[in-house]
């Protein structure tokens, strides 16, 4: 009998693939770490992370990630500040105010927006956003932290909306009917019941959005100017880790100091994002366990 015999093979395949999947993560972390190890033999971890200058191929090479790291953190922060209020507002609409027939088309639209490849966003940024910045702020060149932040905000917005709307629905839908029996208006319910209930969902959306923004490469690279400066002004130019890798990796000779330094930067980024994801995982567990109590 075919299926009796298949069972063993199927079960083994399924198990083996799961093990492989688990090992992929380990392999990624290990390899990136291994390739970056050499740089820490030349530069101390502290100097690497907090050194003030990134000049890997100068006559006097200096490998300091401080301005790069600061930009890596500043960009998603700017994006978050811009996107969060709008994401919450729009998510409320999609979860509780959207008229029935519009619901699915609009939600699909948001999903599609969340899936647009980032080069397309980058191209639009290059063509429309940068000249706009130049005109608005009379900048001599529109490439800037702000341009990157705005573009990232637009990119993560649909993603955050979709995460938040889902969690808002999950958090509030069981109380809708009860609230109605108390004769209160829809808006009253939204602000007194749904908003407080969605708090953790909103945090989750914000965290996930931030982590996306932090790892984003192509779009950001096309609008931030890529000068390794401290992000001390919104209109200043910056160079975050993903841009650094994309720009410099191509030319860093295999095994050179520059090459290892790039992997070092990549490892820092990887750790940052894994950290954020663990945080998110913990947060979601909190939310779920709260769900059980009620």
């Amino acid at each position: 009998m075919f299926y009796h015999r298949l069972e063993k093979l199927f079960a083994t395949t399924v198990r083996a693939c799961t093990v492989v999947a688990v090992f992929i993560l380990a392999l990624v972390i290990f390899l990136i770490f291994r390739e970056s190890l050499a740089i820490f033999q030349e530069v101390s971890v502290k100097d690497f992370l907090f050194g003030a200058e990134w000049r890997p191929v100068s006559h006097h090479p200096r490998i300091g990630l401080r301005p790069i790291l600061a930009a890596t953190l500043a960009l998603p922060l700017v994006a978050l500040v811009l996107a969060l209020p709008m994401a919450v507002g729009a998510a409320l609409f999609f979860a509780y105010l959207c008229p029935g027939p519009l619901r699915r088309p609009l939600r699909s639209l948001i999903d599609i927006m969340a899936g647009i490849p980032s080069v397309i966003y980058g191209m639009l940024g290059l063509v429309y956003l940068i000249p706009l910045m130049e005109n608005l702020f009379s900048m001599s060149s529109g490439d800037s932290l702000l341009a990157g932040g705005v573009l990232l905000a637009i990119m993560v917005l649909p993603f955050m909306i979709s995460v938040m709307a889902e969690s808002m629905e999950a958090a509030g839908s069981q109380y809708l009917e009860v609230s109605k029996t108390l004769g209160v208006s829809h808006l009253y319910m939204l602000r007194e019941l749904i908003l407080p209930l969605s708090l953790k969902g909103m945090i989750a959306g914000a965290v996930l959005g931030t982590s996306r923004a932090m790892g984003e490469t192509m779009a950001v690279m096309m609008v931030v100017g890529n000068s390794p400066l401290m992000p001390d002004s919104l209109l200043g130019r910056v160079k975050p880790i993903p841009s650094l890798i994309a720009l410099e990796m191509g030319s860093a000779p295999l095994g050179s100091q520059h090459y290892h330094a790039i992997f070092g930067a990549g490892f820092v980024l990887l750790m940052l994002l894994l950290g954020i994801n663990l945080l998110f995982y913990w947060l979601r567990r909190q939310i779920e366990s709260r769900g059980e109590v009620s």
């Binding site: 191929v57 100068s58 490439d143 000068s227 720009l247 860093a252 000779p253």
Partner: protein, 283 residues
């Protein structure tokens, strides 16, 4: 074509190993030219046996990629490309890293100190000194009025190639010496991109490849540097200080297909395209 040293008995075995696809990687300055030549080559012959009847009847396929001169050297080193394109001399380390380093210089290029045609400085004068260039690119001077009191107090927007670009090293060595280029400069990942930004920003200054600048003569002002005009002759005889070679590098012997195409690059046709693209061919 390649030497027909092998007996005809080996042809079958050769056919098996024959590799009719080539990948060039490296200089963004050189890439458009090589792909142009490759395009002509493919159109003219189609299959390898048309080039040389000792080669099998496989379709000619030549891919060209960019990433800067550094990427070219690296790709040959890690074996991901057949031939690397460099818009500078290969560095000592790069030569040493390759066991059997081989190169061919196919042309010359220069870096012009250029500004937008509406740039205040460009409209005032046509000359610049090496010292001024150094002051500007090191970040000593940040506004145009520091270059010349009569100019408006507006920011100088510096455009440079990223560290992977051949131009980066050439400019550093020829103009800056030990002084670093300021961090406030905008890094553009290709020469065409750099020139494009130059054409669109009246406050910008940058170093433009002679070849690329040629194509946009009307939109740019290229300065005479320390009294030397960036002309064909001055570049060829080395009087213009920021000149650079266009180099193809590879490791070991060329295979038959590589050799056949290399021949074509050096042929009349190749030279003509190089010339059309604004570079100075060398034999």
């Amino acid at each position: 074509a390649c030497g027909n040293g092998g007996g005809s008995g080996d042809t079958a075995a050769e056919d098996q190993n024959f590799d009719g696809e080539l990948l060039f990687t490296g200089s963004s300055t050189l890439a458009p030219t090589i792909s142009q030549i490759a395009d002509e080559f493919q159109n003219e012959f189609g299959t390898w046996d048309q080039v040389d009847d000792s080669l099998p009847a496989e379709t000619i396929q030549i891919s060209v990629s960019t990433g800067g001169s550094g990427a070219g050297a690296k790709a040959v080193l890690d074996g991901t490309a057949n031939i690397g394109m460099l818009a500078r001399h290969a560095r000592e380390e790069e030569r040493e890293a390759l066991e059997e380093y081989q190169e061919a210089i196919i042309g010359m290029d220069a870096l012009l100190m250029a500004v937008n045609q509406n740039n205040p400085l460009g409209q005032n004068r046509s000359e610049i000194t090496a010292e001024e260039v150094q002051n500007i690119f090191s970040g000593e001077w940040t506004h145009w009025n520091q270059v010349d009191e009569n100019l408006p107090e507006e920011e100088i927007v510096l455009l440079v190639r990223d560290v992977g670009g051949g131009a980066h090293g050439v400019f550093q060595n020829a103009m800056m010496g030990e002084v670093d280029v300021t961090e406030t400069a905008i890094e553009v990942p290709s020469m065409t991109g750099l020139v494009d930004r130059l054409m669109n920003n009246p406050l910008a200054m940058g170093y433009a490849s002679f070849g690329v600048a040629e194509m946009h003569q009307d939109d740019l002002v290229a300065f005479v540097l320390d009294g030397v005009e960036p002309s064909l002759e001055n570049i060829l005889d080395g009087t213009y200080p920021v000149a650079r070679p266009l180099v193809l590098v590879w490791n070991g012997e060329l295979n038959p297909a590589e050799a056949a195409f290399m021949e074509y690059i050096k042929s009349e046709k190749g030279i003509q395209i190089l010339d059309e693209m604004g570079f100075v061919p060398v034999q």
